[in-house]
Symmetry: C2
Subunit: 170 residues, 2 copies
């Protein structure tokens, strides 16, 4: 049934008119929506000694338990020095556990401790609540479109990262 996916020109609706103004509105929508997207976890974390960087690390360690530091580096797109500062505090505070690799002892494998999982829950509950409300308000077709456009906006490397996080569903 020729789902969207290739951009070619079928039923005369492609090669769509895209005025600069329409594109600008999309850009601004991303800007304002991202503010909302990060607002709830930021609120929770301010007051604790953590920030958005800690949230991201916790999120992806939870997502891929046992991941190595290097994997996490690539996922987050930051330098190892920057990540290290965050990981050190999380490990020192007992939210993350770092285990030396068995096959390759140069690697460290990262896991959330029960305390780390508890914080992850608090943060992602808040973020998911906003997401859920937005999805419900927008409806399933809008949600599908939302995901489609976001995927198309990613750099190919990021998109691969993103897709490889599937595993459990979509």
């Amino acid at each position: 049934m020729e789902e969207r996916g290739h951009p070619g020109l079928h039923s005369g609706e492609s090669l769509l008119f895209l005025t600069d103004e329409q594109l600008r509105k999309g850009i601004e929508a991303m800007f304002f929506a991202y503010r909302g997207f990060t607002a709830d976890p930021d609120r929770i974390l301010s007051g604790m000694e953590y920030g958005r960087a800690h949230h991201r690390a916790i999120h992806f360690i939870n997502r891929s338990p046992g991941t190595t530091v290097n994997n996490l580096l690539n996922t987050l797109g930051v330098t190892k020095q920057s990540l290290n500062r965050v990981l050190r505090t999380l490990i020192a505070d007992g939210l993350v556990e770092s285990r030396v690799g068995e096959k390759d002892k140069r690697e460290r494998h990262l896991y959330l401790t029960p305390e780390g999982e508890a914080l992850e829950q608090r943060l992602s509950d808040a973020q998911r609540a906003r997401m859920r409300a937005a999805y419900r308000a927008a409806g399933p077709e809008a949600v599908a479109g939302f995901r489609t456009v976001l995927e198309a906006m990613m750099d190919p490397d990021m998109r691969r990262q993103y897709l490889s996080l599937r595993e459990e569903n979509t």
Copy 2:
């Protein structure tokens, strides 16, 4: 025909199942897509003496020429001290002009100079090119859904800001 817009339960498709995993994927999509979204202007600005904060200021001054510092503050959601640092360099470098208000001389009205407009063009051309490619790849229905979900994700104040930027179209 009862377009999406209210979340109620019509034709049995609302109250949609939203598993935590689906919501997590949406969260990750936002994260990775936002990286792509900012990548091109960031690349242009690194090497110049400017950063993302300058881009944002330039974008919204271009969008609403003559806006006051206070308006810009509210739009950007930063403190005046933070914005001031950015504006000072842009004004010193001749990219932005600050005119004392005629009615209320306390206010400063901000305009891009021709040089400022030139930089704005370079930056937004790059950002729009990515947006245009994503929109084309995803198709018009996906684009509508994308906008709908992003709007639903904003805080009400941000949504008002966002909508008040329309004027010229949608």
